[in-house]
Structures are given as C-alpha cells and as structure tokens.
C-alpha cells in the first residue's frame, strides 16, 4: 500500500465515518433492544421521549455524559479509567477492513479476516483491566470468567472461519464476498452450514451476550466487570458491547450471507440489511433464554464445538482436494 496524501485522507475520512457509524449504531440498537424486549414481554417499551421512544437513547446518553465517574476506593486509577477506552478503541480499526459494498471499504488488506480475529481479542483485555482495576470481587469474577470464555470461544470461531478461508482460498474479505456472488445458494451459509452453526454460537460467546453473558451475569455478579462503572465509563462498555455485536453481525453478513450480494441490485444496502437482521436475531435470543452455567459453557465449547469445527475443517479439506 502506498502512503500517498490521497490514501491518508481517504483513511481519515473512513475512520470518521466509522466513528459516526458506531455511535449511531449504539443509539439505534439500544432503542431497538429495549423496544424488542418490550414487544416480546408484551409491554410498549420506551414510549415517551420522541415518537415511540426513538429519542430515549439520546436522552440517556446525555444523562450518562453528565454523570460523575465514581472512582471506587483503592482502585487502580489509570487502569480503571483506561479500560473503557481500551474496550472501544480497537473497534475502530476492525471496521476499516470490512467490505460494506463493492466500492466501500476503508482499507483493503488481503489479511482482513486475520486482522479482525486478532483485534477482537483486545476487548477481553479491556474487560480484564476493568474488572481488576475496580477492586471489586464481583468485577474480578466477571473478568476471570470473560478470559476463560473468550479463550474457549475463539478457537472454534477460528476453526469455523478457517474452513471458509480454505474454500475461498483467501483471508481477504473482498475475495470471500466475491466468491459468494451470483445467486443465493452460492452464499456460504448453504455451502458451510456447520461452520455457520459454530459461528452463531461463538458469536454469542464472543460478544458476551445472553445466553453466554456470564461476565456480566447480573443475577449472580450484579453487573460483573462493569459493576463499579458509572457515567461515561459504563456508557463506553455498553457501546463496546453493541459495537462488538455489530462487528459479528457484519462478519455474519459478509462471510455467510454473501455480503453486498443480494437477490437483486447488489450494493452496500444488502450488507447493512443483513447486519440488522442478524442483530435483531441476537436481541431476540437474548430475551428468550436463561443463562448457561459456567462449566456448561466450557463444555459446549471444548466438547462439542471444537470437535465439530475440526470435523468441518477436515471435511472441507477433503472435499476441496477431491473436487
């Protein structure tokens, strides 16, 4: 990649657009989550601020911005304050490499998938930092859970995505998208259903969403790693959760649902539509299931998903070799 002025300007513009996207996403998704939860539970959800509560999240974020950040006694100041930033910051870079549409990618790299997988691990670091620095036992347990959970889930996730990379012969997300162009049954979800199954389950584990929201686990750990956070610190952790949700939804759209390839008129709108649908699915799941226990979570992963992922990888390799 040549470093010309044009490229730098393009990169900066892309980063700016991504920041706007992430903030907008959090605002909209929090509203959607509350509204969907309301409908599922047969209540109206946010209703008062704005039409059908659309501005509720804006009002909430103003409140969170204005609130004092309470530092718990004998906490690690630097870590405590930097953890939320650390949770949010790597996300900006990840969104650079996602091909939203044929002409819409912040930064085209041929190792996009690898970059994404590498950077998603950073969020775990932020959770550990936050949980440790809070000097709170609930936070500590939450952070410890988060570490073993993400270690456990990243391996099947990588195995599942590796099968895709085998099939497309590339780690470049643009290439993977192009390989799915044509018609709907060329989407990877039909060609790699097992990989998709593993991917969906690991998504919930990676994003710490129910039924795998053990690091937060409010009925056991009150708030888990963000028990002590208030104001903007809490808001950033919250944003990070929705951002990682959006990330896995974009990944699902690009890797399994053909990205910008639609049934008709290809374009970036398909990516966003698929992303939105996948996020709605995640919300729907959250408001349906109880939480799994911690040992069960590890069992699901090490005893079922890991062998399944290996099997899938092996079958893919054999099939590719034979045909």
């Amino acid at each position: 990649m040549d470093i010309s002025l044009l490229n730098v300007i393009k990169l900066l513009l892309a980063l700016l657009a991504i920041i706007v996207l992430l903030v907008l996403n959090s605002v909209v998704m929090v509203w959607l989550e509350r509204k969907a939860a309301g409908f599922v539970q047969r209540r109206p959800g946010p209703y008062v601020v704005g039409p059908h509560g659309l501005l509720q999240t804006v009002a909430d974020s103003v409140k969170l911005l204005a609130k004092q950040i309470v530092l718990p006694g004998s906490s690690d100041r630097l870590l405590f304050l930097s953890a939320p930033v650390l949770a949010m910051f790597p996300m900006f870079l990840i969104f650079l490499v996602i091909p939203y549409g044929p002409w819409l990618t912040g930064l085209e790299v041929n190792l996009g998938l690898l970059l994404i997988l590498a950077f998603t691990g950073l969020e775990t670091l932020a959770v550990i930092a936050g949980g440790w620095a809070s000097n709170n036992k609930y936070s500590l347990i939450g952070a410890a859970r988060c570490v073993s959970q993400s270690v456990a889930y990243e391996i099947p996730l990588i195995l599942a995505l590796l099968a895709l990379a085998f099939m497309c012969g590339s780690l470049d997300l643009t290439v993977i998208t192009e390989a799915q162009s044509g018609w709907v049954w060329r989407w990877n979800i039909f060609r790699q259903p097992l990989a998709f199954f593993i991917f969906v389950i690991t998504c919930f584990g990676e994003t710490n969403r129910a039924p795998f929201d053990l690091p937060e686990g409010e009925s056991e750990l009150t708030g888990g790693y963000h028990t002590e956070y208030s104001g903007m610190g809490f808001a950033l952790f919250f944003m990070a959760e929705y951002t990682s949700m959006m990330l896995v939804s974009f990944l699902a759209a690009v890797l399994f649902f053909g990205g910008s390839n639609g049934p008709f008129i290809n374009g970036f709108w398909w990516t966003f539509l698929k992303m939105g649908l996948f996020m709605t699915f995640m919300i729907w799941v959250r408001w349906t299931f109880p939480r799994v226990r911690f040992d069960q979570l590890l069992n699901i992963n090490w005893k079922w998903l890991l062998p399944l992922g290996l099997l899938n990888l092996w079958v893919t390799a054999v099939v590719l070799k034979l045909f």
Partner: protein, 400 residues
C-alpha cells in the same frame, strides 16, 4: 482516667491492609471460620438482584465454588409477633397481610383460624368457600410470581413479565373480593370482610381455562428449554432427611418426595371436601421443586373450579361474628394452614385481656432458608443462587 490520654486517632483494631478494615460483626465472625486460607469471602446482599429483598448471604468462595455460605437475617425485621401482643386481635389483622406479601390470604386465614379456634367461633359455609377461592387464587399468583423470579435468577428475563400477566389477572379477581391488590386483608373473625359478586364468578370462570393454556406455554418456553433443564437437573438435592432436620415444609418438602400438605394432613376449612392431589417430585433437585410448584398451580385451579361450581348462597359472615372491640376468651390455640411456601402456623395465647398475651408466627420461609447453608456447600456460585431461588423465599416473611 488513663482512657482520656489515649490517642483518639489511633484505632488499634484496624490493620494497614484496607481490605481488612471492611466488615461488620457478621462478616468478621464469618471470616474466623475460614476453611481455606486462599478463599475469597463474598458478601451477597442485602442489595443483590438474586436475593429478592434484603437477604444477605456471606459466602466463602474458592474460584467459583462456594465452600461455605451463611445467610444473615434481620434486615426486614418488623416485630410482627410483638405487634400482635400490643394491638387488639382485630387491629392486628392488617398486619397478617404484610407478613408475606405474595401469599397474604393464607396468613389472614391462619390468624383468623387461630382466634376462631380459640374462641370457638363458627364460620358460615359460604365464607369457607370464599376463603378457599381467595387462598387458592392467591397461591396461584404466588407460584406464578416465583416461577418468573426463579427463571430470572437463572438469567432469563422475559418469563417474569409473562408471570406478571397472570398475576395481574388474579389481582383483578382478588381486588373484587378483598379491595386491594397486594397486602390483602379480607378475612374477619367468623367470616369474610366482603362478599363476591357475579362479575367475580364470571371472571374466575374465564380465568381457569386461560391459566391452563398459559401453563402449556410455560412448559414449552421454560420447562422444556434445554439450558434451563441442564441448569437444574441434579442441582441442589435436598432429601427428606435434611428437610426434617430443618423443618422445611411446602414445595421444598414435597420436592424431596414427601407428600405432606397441611390441607390433607390436618384439614382446615372445607378442604376435606375437595378433590385434589398432592404433587410430589420424582427427583429431589431444583427441577423437582420447580415441577412440584407448576403442578400445584394445576391442583389449585382444580380446587378453584370445584369451589366456584359448589359455592352455596348464604351469609359471608356469621351473624354473631365478633365486633371490632372484641376480646377473645382466655386460652390458647394453634392453627396451621398451607401457604405458598409451606406450613404457616400461628400460635395464640390469650389471658382474656384486650390484646393477645402471646403470639407466635411460624413462617415457612425461615425454616426453608435455614437449610441453605448446608445445601449450598460445595456448589458453584450460580448453582447456589439457583438453590436459593428454588426455596422460594419471601424475605419479609423470613424476618417477620
């Protein structure tokens, strides 16, 4: 005099480690019994999402395993026993609805029954039927609320709001008879405080098939759910022996396989005229207790159905029922009813004076909670909270 010269800024009991400064009598006492030097002592509550009220639990954790746990009570102690001794019997009546906010009608009944037994008062048949209808509807509401709260303990948030739908409908019904939606106080010595009307009968008749449909939905949404089942199967087994030692009653005891129900064992009211079963769990774990409660809802529906079909006409209160300024005769009486959480017993002693000489409330929640310390030993933190949820505690009742 030497005390005057002690440096007021020197606190000898406080060590330099700030973590050691924290803790009150209970936690310091709990810390003395440490099993493992590397353990972590976690203070759950009094404000904690899973304790449903102001219960406090001290737990010694090794990783996620609970080595030792100890409930700390008394954050909602209101001296109901003593209030019953300073107020006249009639004045104490509203208190009974406030002991257990989820099943107030049973407490009403226990107190009225105790004083009726003491004074040998008669209750008209219609009033007995009314009591049974109210008590069973209230039991359904109590169990349904527990169902929602229990699933919430396990992390599923939606069921509690479905549970509230049923509770709303039952509250609408009970409001017609009792006038209030929470701390109901509808019974009087020798009958009921108010009669029901046709609207009630019609609404109640509509409610029974509706509730049966909803129970099927509960089964599909929660009972059949694989995550839920695996969270509960084999978790927190409480056998007959531990229940006997701690005096656990109600669904906890029936979950252990003992078919003990006050409605059958020492029938009160007109329960001996009704046809219902006493559900018993096949396994003594959390799932067993869960299934017992769900089946109890069905049995209660059966009782309500029979009562609505057979309710006779007549007065809802005995014409010679005592007035507000009533003084019970000297003597003593004990009356037990089956509440949503177990055996509610009220022992009243009167010396013929204005107020009771002695009043003792036996709360089932207190006995059920007592076995938690033993049951939680060696379980995972999440399992310990599932066991706590499966005991169906109402803290105001535990502390009284």
């Amino acid at each position: 005099m030497s005390n005057l010269f002690v440096n007021p800024f020197h606190f000898s009991t406080i060590s330099e480690n700030p973590a050691d400064m924290l803790g009150d009598f209970y936690s310091l006492n709990f810390e003395k019994g440490r099993v493992d030097p590397d353990s972590m002592i976690l203070n759950l509550g009094p404000q904690h999402p899973s304790t449903h009220g102001v219960l406090r639990i001290l737990a010694e954790l090794h990783g996620e395993y609970v080595l030792r746990a100890e409930p700390v009570l008394g954050y909602l102690h209101r001296m109901h026993d003593f209030m019953g001794q300073v107020k006249t019997p009639y004045q104490f009546l509203p208190n009974t609805g406030r002991v257990d906010y989820l099943h107030p009608v049973a407490w009403n009944w226990a107190y009225c029954g105790a004083l009726e037994r003491l004074a040998g008062l008669e209750v008209p048949e219609r009033a007995e039927y009314l009591r049974i209808i109210c008590c069973e509807l209230n039991r359904i509401a109590s169990h349904v609320m527990w169902w929602g709260a229990f699933v919430m303990d396990l992390g599923g948030f939606t069921p509690i709001l479905y549970a509230f739908e049923e509770r709303e409908k039952i509250n609408d019904l009970l409001q017609i008879v009792t006038g209030s939606r929470l701390t109901m106080n509808s019974m009087r010595f020798g009958g009921m405080g108010a009669d029901l009307d046709d609207r009630f009968l019609q609404k109640a008749a509509d409610f029974i098939p509706y509730m049966r449909e909803r129970l099927k939905m509960y089964d599909r949404l929660v009972t059949g759910n694989v995550i839920f089942r695996r969270r509960l199967e084999g978790v927190g087994p409480l056998d007959e022996e531990i229940c006997r030692r701690y005096g656990a009653t109600g669904p906890v005891l029936r979950g252990a396989g003992v078919a003990y129900d006050v409605r059958r064992a020492e029938p009160y009211g007109l329960y001996d005229r009704f046809d219902f079963e006493i559900p018993v769990a096949e396994s003594p774990d959390c799932l067993g207790r869960y299934l017992v409660r769900l089946r109890e809802i069905e049995e209660s529906l059966k009782i309500v159905e029979q009562a609505l079909a057979r309710i006779p006409a007549g007065p809802y209160k005995h014409p010679k029922a005592p007035k507000v300024s009533w003084k019970p005769p000297a003597g003593e009486a004990y009356f037990a009813v089956e509440g949503g959480r177990g055996k509610i017993g009220i022992h009243v002693v009167s010396d013929g004076g204005k107020s009771n000489y002695r009043l003792k409330l036996r709360a089932p929640g207190f006995s059920n909670l007592s076995l938690f310390a033993e049951a939680a030993r060696g379980t995972l933190l999440a399992d310990a909270l599932a066991i706590l949820g499966s005991l169906d505690l109402v803290i105001p009742e535990v502390d009284r």
